[in-house]
Homo-oligomer: 539 residues x 2
């Protein structure tokens, strides 16, 4: 089966899979829309989350919009994300690895549906961005509507190499918007080069391409690698691009909406507050402003947004899976750690800070190589980094805490390192400084590394052996008890230490012959000893 041509093909796939809620009543985009989707992130298990399609969108002043709004379609859950990748959830990590290792360059075509409708001239001046039903994400705190699934395409003015990245945009007027640009992000490199050249930076904001476009836009792909080629790698076929109407840039031919504009490089202007992935309101920051030159969109275009802010959210899910794939590929292939079996970023850390590396421990060094390499992957990714064994579910915080409790000894298995940075970590420095510093002092912020793999053989996991649990499962179903969602492990297994004698005794007990074991043990009595002696004394 070939990959999705466009967002709407993907949307009907979601609906067939039972992953789409259609809301037909009129919904206020600024006060009702995002809170409704938010509820499922605070109140439903991840596997029950769905995408929401709002068919009739209005604002609080009687304005009705012709475009429907879709939220949650890209990454409301890992299952939805896998549908977007066109694979099973357990294949996502290897699919990402393949796409990064074998990108497929996009193909330029002469025309595409994204330019079926072109807004320019008077219509742009009068209505412009106001035609698009962009919701307020955090009503009561955000100072404007912001685009969220907001893929900015720019080019390096010197090399012509393209970049696409996800940078929020504050709607400032019919023809003006802010762009959140961090100096180390690739759009920031382009902006700075244009600033020195004394020219504005051309930028095209893409909304609603095939899901591969969104997945690559939010990921940390090295400078100079074309995200649109990695999107082709995900799809297994080249993405079709068209030339922009007013810019020397190319955008996905089958996107829903493209906002074309010039980003001024001669000044910065205050932007935000806007709710951020760290779970707190993002502070005011000085950012560039874009002057819109045209808006193009498909007939019956859908506005597509991501639910971001307090994790877990769609934003933490979409970033989680992309970063997991990239750190996994980095550790396994680039750092030559083939024993790494999975990387899990916890959404509770906004998919930035809490990183669990699942691996097969072969020696004392491998976990530490993995921890140090993962902490070096990016200044701002990784504040609490943990290695676990293959029998630990790295995404389940209880499973990881079980490993920390019984496989990690702090004085031996824990290190604190400095020289890290932070994007939106308010524990680094107090708020209130415009342009909040990522490095509060010359030693930077810090991370804690913990090796929670087993250092030696362990006794079996204390759960009934598999056949007994499977039999119990049959009885459970026959008795019509409530549906189970079993967590791993749900039966016992061995971990290296289980003497033959213990196995024999367990078998005797199952036969009801445990008195025989007791008779044997009675022959090993030791007389005249205390409880509190050394093991040898007690033995």
């Amino acid at each position: 089966m070939s990959y999705y041509l466009d967002f709407r093909e993907y949307l009907s796939r979601l609906e067939k899979a039972g992953k789409l809620v259609r809301v037909r009543r009129e919904i206020n985009k600024d006060t009702e829309l995002m809170p409704l989707v938010r509820l499922q992130f605070r109140g439903l298990p991840e596997e029950d989350r769905r995408a929401f399609l709002f068919e009739r969108v209005a604002d609080g002043h009687g304005r009705r919009y012709s475009m429907p709004v879709v939220i949650g379609a890209l990454a409301a859950s890992r299952e939805i994300y896998a549908l977007g990748m066109g694979c099973h959830p357990e294949e996502v990590m290897e699919r990402w690895t393949e796409a990064l290792r074998h990108p497929i360059p996009p193909r330029l075509v002469s025309r595409g549906p994204v330019q079926e409708v072109i807004i320019e001239g008077d219509a742009l001046e009068r209505d412009g961005l106001g035609l698009i039903p962009i919701p307020i994400s955090t009503p009561g705190y955000d100072n404007a509507p912001y685009t969220t699934a907001t893929h900015w395409v720019t080019k390096d003015p010197e090399t012509g190499v393209r970049n696409m990245g996800n940078y929020r945009s504050q709607i400032k007027g019919a023809r003006t918007a802010g762009v959140f640009v961090y100096p180390t992000q690739h759009i920031g490199v382009h902006w700075e080069k244009c600033r020195k050249l004394g020219v504005p930076l051309q930028g095209a904001l893409v909304i609603g391409g095939p899901p591969s476009v969104a997945y690559t836009a939010v990921s940390k792909i090295p400078y100079g690698v074309d995200e649109l080629a990695v999107a082709g790698g995900i799809a297994g076929e080249p993405l079709e691009l068209v030339k922009c109407h007013t810019l020397d840039l190319e955008v996905p031919a089958h996107a829903e909406i493209v906002i074309e504009g010039e980003i001024a490089t001669d000044f910065l202007e205050p932007e935000a507050p806007f709710g951020e992935y760290c779970g707190y309101m993002g502070d005011r920051v000085m950012n560039p402003v874009v002057r819109v030159t045209a808006i193009t969109h498909r007939k019956d275009a859908h506005y597509v947004g991501i639910l971001s802010q307090m994790p877990p959210s769609e934003s933490s899910k979409i970033r989680q899976i992309a970063y997991e794939g990239q750190i996994f590929k980095f550790l396994k292939y680039d750092c030559n750690l083939p024993t790494v079996t999975a990387v899990a970023l916890h959404e509770s850390s906004g998919s930035w800070g809490y990183v669990v590396i699942q691996m097969r421990r072969t020696n004392v060094s491998d976990p530490w190589r993995a921890l140090m390499a993962a902490s070096a992957f990016d200044a701002t990714v990784g504040k609490i980094l943990i290695t676990v064994d293959e029998d630990i579910d790295p995404w389940d915080p209880d499973s990881v805490n079980w490993a920390l409790s019984f496989r990690m000894m702090p004085h031996r298995d824990l290190r604190v390192i400095r020289g890290k940075g932070s994007m939106l970590d308010h524990s680094a420095s107090p708020p209130g400084i415009i342009g909040h510093l990522p490095f509060p002092d010359l030693e930077g912020t810090s991370a804690v590394l913990m090796d929670a793999t087993r250092k030696w053989a362990y006794p079996p996991v204390s759960l009934p052996k598999q056949p007994f649990m499977e039999r119990a499962l049959e009885i459970w179903k026959e008795e019509k008890l409530p549906a189970l969602r079993l967590k791993r492990p749900w039966y016992g297994y061995e971990l290296g230490y289980w003497p033959d004698e213990f196995e024999e005794e367990a078998q005797l007990a199952l036969k009801g012959e445990h008195y025989r074991t007791s008779e044997k043990l009675a022959t090993r009595r030791v007389y005249g000893v205390t409880l509190s002696g050394t093991p040898e004394e007690r033995r």
Copy 2:
């Protein structure tokens, strides 16, 4: 309403509350019984767990037992535990505190139903413990059936002060059982005194009293305080006791079963393996042996057990709540830390290692006093200790990880300490030594302390304000979307940093007047600056 007179009164209360599953089919106590109850601990949310009453119990050799078996009645969930305490779940911690501060001594009565049936003489010699349907907890690994809700009453042979503690007992023969005795536990102190006096230690194993008896038996109550008086403190009335049939000991008059015996003090004998709370099989250990002198029980007695082993389990839940109450009382009252609002032991650590202290931060010292005092509470309790603010749910690992990710800076807020001990932590030393050492070397094991409280004002939590989330909840219900279990926080709130100007802008945005904000911000443009300057330059 007065407290439960006995276990069966409590059981009918559980059934009325919809918290009891009756299994009427014949169940094999050794291979089917515990695995069936286990499934709910691996596959259902805590609030859906119930107690199981097995009406028809057999073993694999055609033997049918007259006693029914009850598992999960004491602590399958926090809700069930609260029913057992006779209060609401949110009152449990203060109820424990009250009982510890105001114990009510028990009252001796001349007779009680626990002695309606007396097994001694030939019947004891021939059948004895074999009459009781004690299940195998971890079929395939355990070497015998063991009692689990197993409250041993003993007396200090010098002072006569009573102790009751929960110590597992391996069924070794019709009249013999092991007793797991740790030297620092109070039964261990009694045993050692008797050993020096050259006499056996009298012990009565109580099964199935009113739930207060089980709750105090598993807790860490200081030496010399009578657990049966604390049980009275929980009940708000004295517990009725009767004299044992063959011993100089008193036991709850309304218990289901009492096993009376003499614990030999002149020898130790190998005992276990048995599945342990740490999630691994407990190793072989040298332990005392009890010689049963009589078994007494009620007509139609119920055998009551606890599901233990791999956490979460009933054993980790019952210990969790008792320790939480005791550490809370210790910190708040004994250590003069009135700003402590809750203590949470995570079941993933077997309710031993992972301790979260919720408190109102008033200065830099209080969190560290709380962390150090909690780590000093007991050698073996507390390996990962964390302080959090009042808006963090200390029981929710995602909430705690959110706090660690954005309120804790490792180099400033984390310390590793030595001088701890461990009971069953295999990361301390390899298995295979009988009597596994709690202190592997002269510095002991270690703990990590982390202060994850906010050190300064933070921006608001990035969720829509309460009225918008409440309105969304109305729409959610009207649209008949799936039932929610909302996690805290589910709406935004302020944390000290939110300038008036930001509030005004948020209000303008709700009115659709955000272009006015943009016009204001445009007057604050700064020309000729880079993105990567200092905040002042960028400002």
